[in-house]
Symmetry: C2
């Protein structure tokens, strides 16, 4: 969704008739002043920008989070990973299948509990993750430029409070 404020300068009356209707800017009403809506718009922009950077690495943002969680928690089980991700374990099965197929992660049966797998990155997975971390860093630099160094700390703290208190 594109936020375009209805400013008087936008109201062109080219042909002073039916065409003015088409050129008229969209009115978003109270949506434009609501935090919830602007949070959604900002997130969509940020997510899309990062998606593009991830695509340069041949991955997507979802894979990034999965790889990072496995990297930082080697030996994690599928159930624990799905909980950390806030998704049902069944949603994870095809994702992990894909990552195994492409040689980015490895699954080992646990010795003492043969029901569960231990997940870890392969060297190829580490390499892909490193590239994704590079993309994330570039994305953060772009965000920081827009946010400004002075705001960053406060902004981050507010985001954390929202996630914690509304979750």
């Amino acid at each position: 969704m594109i936020l375009t404020r209805a400013k008087s300068s936008d109201r062109r009356k080219k042909t002073a008739g039916a065409a003015a209707d088409a050129a008229k800017a969209i009115d978003f009403g109270p949506l434009a002043t609501w935090v919830g809506f602007n949070l959604r718009m900002a997130q969509a922009s940020s997510f899309q920008a990062f998606s593009k950077l991830s695509q340069d690495v041949g991955e997507n943002p979802g894979r990034f989070a999965t790889l990072m969680l496995i990297a930082k928690n080697p030996g994690i089980s599928q159930t624990a990973l799905s909980r950390a991700n806030g998704r049902d374990k069944s949603s994870l099965t095809p994702v992990l299948e894909d990552l195994v197929r492409r040689g980015l992660i490895q699954r080992q049966r646990m010795h003492n509990d043969k029901r569960t797998y231990r997940l870890k990155l392969t060297p190829a997975g580490e390499k892909t993750l490193a590239k994704l971390i590079g993309a994330a860093r570039r994305h953060e630099e772009n965000l920081d430029r827009v946010i400004g160094a002075r705001e960053r700390t406060r902004f981050l703290a507010t985001l954390r409070r929202i996630a914690a208190d509304l979750g």
Copy 2:
């Protein structure tokens, strides 16, 4: 995804063995300090909270935006609406079909261009929108309580900059 910081106090060793593994908090690595990630988490919390409030009205957040845009721009065409929403026009067809079927919006052929429809809310649509606006206001109150009156203006301005500059 649930953000749980790995604090030393979280490392309980109840039975001092295999159980400690299960109780161990998840490490999110650098994700936890990145704006992009926290923006995503905050948006997910906010969106989910608003989804619940919308469900009390029997609608969902997507319908809310569509109804609002039609209400504030009566006579808008489907193509203009889909552009305002940032989605392809084909994605809108089933949504509008649903809203017409439930008597919330009305479609009129334009006189001078028989290809396009003019969209507007029915009285029932106005009523549903009013209820959704009430839900949105309650949601905003909850958000404002978390953000704080002092931060609100700055926070909103930063969100707007992100949406504008990264979009």
